[in-house]
Amino acid sequence: MTSIDTIVGELEARFDDIALEHVRAWKQAAPNRLAFGCLPVFAPREVLWAAGALPVFVRGGGDRLETIRGDAFYQSYICHLPRSTLELGLLGHLDVLDGMIFPNTCDVIRNLSGVWQSTFPQHVVRFMDPPQTAEPASAAAYLHHELTILYGELCALAGVKATGARLHAAIADVSDAHAAARELAAARCEQPWNLPIDEVYLLRRAADSMPPPAWTALARAYIAAALARGRRPEDRIRVCLVGAFCEQPPRALLRAAERAGCYIVDDDLTLGVEPCGPDPEVGAADDPMTAIVLAWLRASRPSAVRYDQHASAGRALVERVRHHRADGVLFAAPSFCDPALLDQPRLTRVLDQHAIPYTSFKYSENTGQFQSIREQAGTFADSVKLWGTA
């Protein structure tokens, strides 16, 4: 078994590789390989992978990058993610990508697609607007049409034939990765003292830019090594982290929250590579694209960037809290993140109804001061421990 230190060392190296040299190496290892950047949250991973394109989630530069030129694109009241993403592009760190896919996650990412078209004309830029409609037949037909066009374009670019067989194989690969992600989530829920959030986070960020089969193997190796640590549980509360699905918090912030007395047993970090519901169900004779479309439409996990058709986001959060045996919720949203911040009052109302304690703070990806967050998380943990409420 590979040692945990070796695995974590590899994960840290990948995480710090903001110039995507590991993606470049993968592309150069075989002909007809493409890499496509995907902004959070929705990405048609199976479609990209089927065309021989590595899906590479671009989640900003975090605190590993000083944003200078990217800041010149945005006013002070816009979140940080587009600034550092542009900085990465302007520094040439995203040159290895053949194109970028921008989903309709919010108005900022939507408009970033236009900035990208003008600033990086060498990139193929595609905007994906996954259906928000409550009307399933029109939604399915529209998404099928859009994904089929995308698949055809990607295959043409890669010089491969757009076949159903390739899609079938890609669905299998991504579903395997999802299975490993579920195993990781389950292991963390059971033994968060052996799978600390900052390591789990590194592993999940690795999924952002690794071929799905390779990540599946790495994830299973990590789980086995981490569970073998045999650490003893500490007297901490268990919390769900909510709201950090797009612009990512610094890794040190996650570590600070845990060390302040919380085990983060569930979160919405790295949405896009996480399974959000059942995987595409496809028989050998079925149309694989239809299966991909239906999986998206049937995704059961609510998120702030999808229309909450059944007003179920609050109930779903309560269920997640219970399923993970969490004591409370940490709302951690990036400053100026409309989807996350507009969701909070709806969610807290339902938490109040179920007497589930919560606290909230904001961050930006390059936050460097964690003292106040450590104190807030620590006070929250203490009050839950002492009185069962915040």
């Binding site: 108005d107 236009g114 078209q117 009307e135 911040l341």
Partner: protein, 438 residues
């Protein structure tokens, strides 16, 4: 020019009456057993609502009207006390605060609760979150119309078909359910024909700004001009009459060679012709306008007046294909277009209207407009060869409006334009390409 008396055109008075009548009718809607449907301005389906005799309510219009009456601050604070972040859209907080305070509208009449929330998801992501919040408050049904963002600037047949299908399968059945009536497509076509008449007159009014002096201010005056057609009056005879009156007024000013009417009186000396991007500030609307007209600056074109319909760029509702036409309308609203196209539209307007410069008013609340505007500034400068001005405030949150700062910036910008004019550097480049959608 005197500031003591606010001068108004006849059409402004007519519009005031239209608005007062609208809010009064709305207050009676419950008694008259008229279903109430909330919706948004961009991509609004007012002809469809009128064809089914439901009363439309536009929460963002309530918010801006509250702001113009200096009531938005209290509403926003109320919403923030209830847990809404200071970072998010002030329209949303103003509306929610108004609801928490009894839903008394800007004219003092109570706004009735909705029977249906018609979520036309066009050009603004926050709309979706806004109606999720309202649904929680009112516990009523939502009809969701997802209008795809036109990411590469081209409306496709697939997009149009998708919107039409949603109209047929989702929106119309839910509207029929609350109204208790079946949609009469002939009646819808009649309404769209009237829309088209009004749109022709409105487009003529905006195009009149190509003259020197411009008989209109297409931004500060323009927000009055778009009022009826962007809200509940499109498709009505009242709107047709209003726009015919407005056109007559503008024709008269054109013939007389006089400039636009401002709150301080007719603008007699057109010193600067500007194109303006972005919504205005509503809490200090008059003061904001005064900064410009005091300097003889006239907005000859604006993008905000295209947010609820791109009539100036050629869009007309088509009564012969009603649902497809409604789909095209939704898809082609200004904020549903990608930034490169928005930059080209701005650059084309600078050229077509022979503007001396352009000003971007960036508002904190509206990411749909604001995110990327600094990039647009540079793009339009590149396309036109003319430097742009950039100012910042907010829609309805007065805490973010700084009169002195904005005045200083605008005056400095205009001084720079004046210097350019003296040096002969004001000629804009020829039009790049004016794309008419769809």
């Amino acid at each position: 020019m005197s500031d003591s008396v606010v001068e108004k055109e006849a059409s402004m008075e007519a519009q005031k009456e239209l608005l007062a009548g609208y809010f009064a009718r709305l207050a009676r809607a419950r008694d008259e057993k008229r279903p109430v449907v909330y919706s948004f301005v961009p991509g609004n389906l007012v002809e469809l609502m009128s064809a089914l005799d439901v009363a439309p309510v536009y929460p963002e219009v309530n918010a801006l009207q509250s702001a113009m009456r200096q009531r938005s601050g209290g509403f926003i604070r109320e919403a923030e006390r209830a847990g809404h972040s200071e970072d998010v859209c002030s329209y949303v907080k103003c509306d929610l605060g108004m609801l928490m305070k009894g839903n008394v509208g800007p004219t003092g009449d109570t706004i009735p609760p909705p029977d249906l929330l018609l979520l036309s998801f066009t050009g603004c992501f926050t709309f979706m979150k806004w109606f999720e919040l309202l649904r929680d408050q009112y516990q009523c049904e939502v009809a969701m119309l997802h209008v795809p963002y036109v990411g590469d600037g081209n409306v496709t047949d697939a997009m149009r078909a998708y919107v039409v299908e949603q109209l047929q399968r989702e929106v119309i059945p839910k509207l029929e359910k609350v109204s208790g009536k079946r949609l009469d497509l002939d009646r819808l076509s009649e309404l769209l024909a009237r829309s088209r008449r009004a749109e022709e007159d409105l487009a003529w009014v905006f195009h009149s700004a190509r003259n020197r002096p411009s008989p209109i201010d297409a931004y500060f005056g323009g927000v009055y001009y778009i009022g009826p057609i962007f809200t509940s009056f499109r498709g009505s005879e009242e709107a047709c009459r209003y726009y015919a009156t407005l056109r007559g007024e503008v024709e008269a000013r054109l013939t007389a060679g006089v400039g636009p009417t401002t709150p301080g009186g007719p603008l007699l000396d057109e010193r600067f012709r500007l194109v303006v991007e972005g919504p205005p500030n509503w809490t200090s609307f008059r003061d904001f306008w005064k900064i410009f007209y005091d300097e003889g600056a006239v907005a000859v074109a604006s993008t905000y007046t295209q947010v609820g319909g791109s009539y100036e760029r050629g869009f007309r509702h088509d009564p012969s294909r009603p649902l497809e036409s409604l789909a095209d309308y939704c898809l082609s609203c200004y904020t549903n277009l990608p930034l490169p196209q928005r930059s080209r539209i701005l650059a084309d307007m600078v050229s077509e209207y022979e503007a001396d410069g352009f000003v971007i008013h960036s508002v904190k609340s509206c990411n749909s407009f604001s995110a990327g505007q600094l990039h647009m500034l540079r793009e339009v400068e590149r396309l036109t060869g003319i430097p742009g001005g950039f100012i910042e405030s907010d829609l309805v949150d007065a805490r973010y409006y700084g009169q002195a700062n904005i005045k200083n910036r605008i005056e400095s910008y205009l001084q720079m334009l004046a210097a350019r004019k003296r040096d002969g550097g004001s000629a804009p480049r020829p039009p790049v390409h004016l794309q008419v959608l769809p």
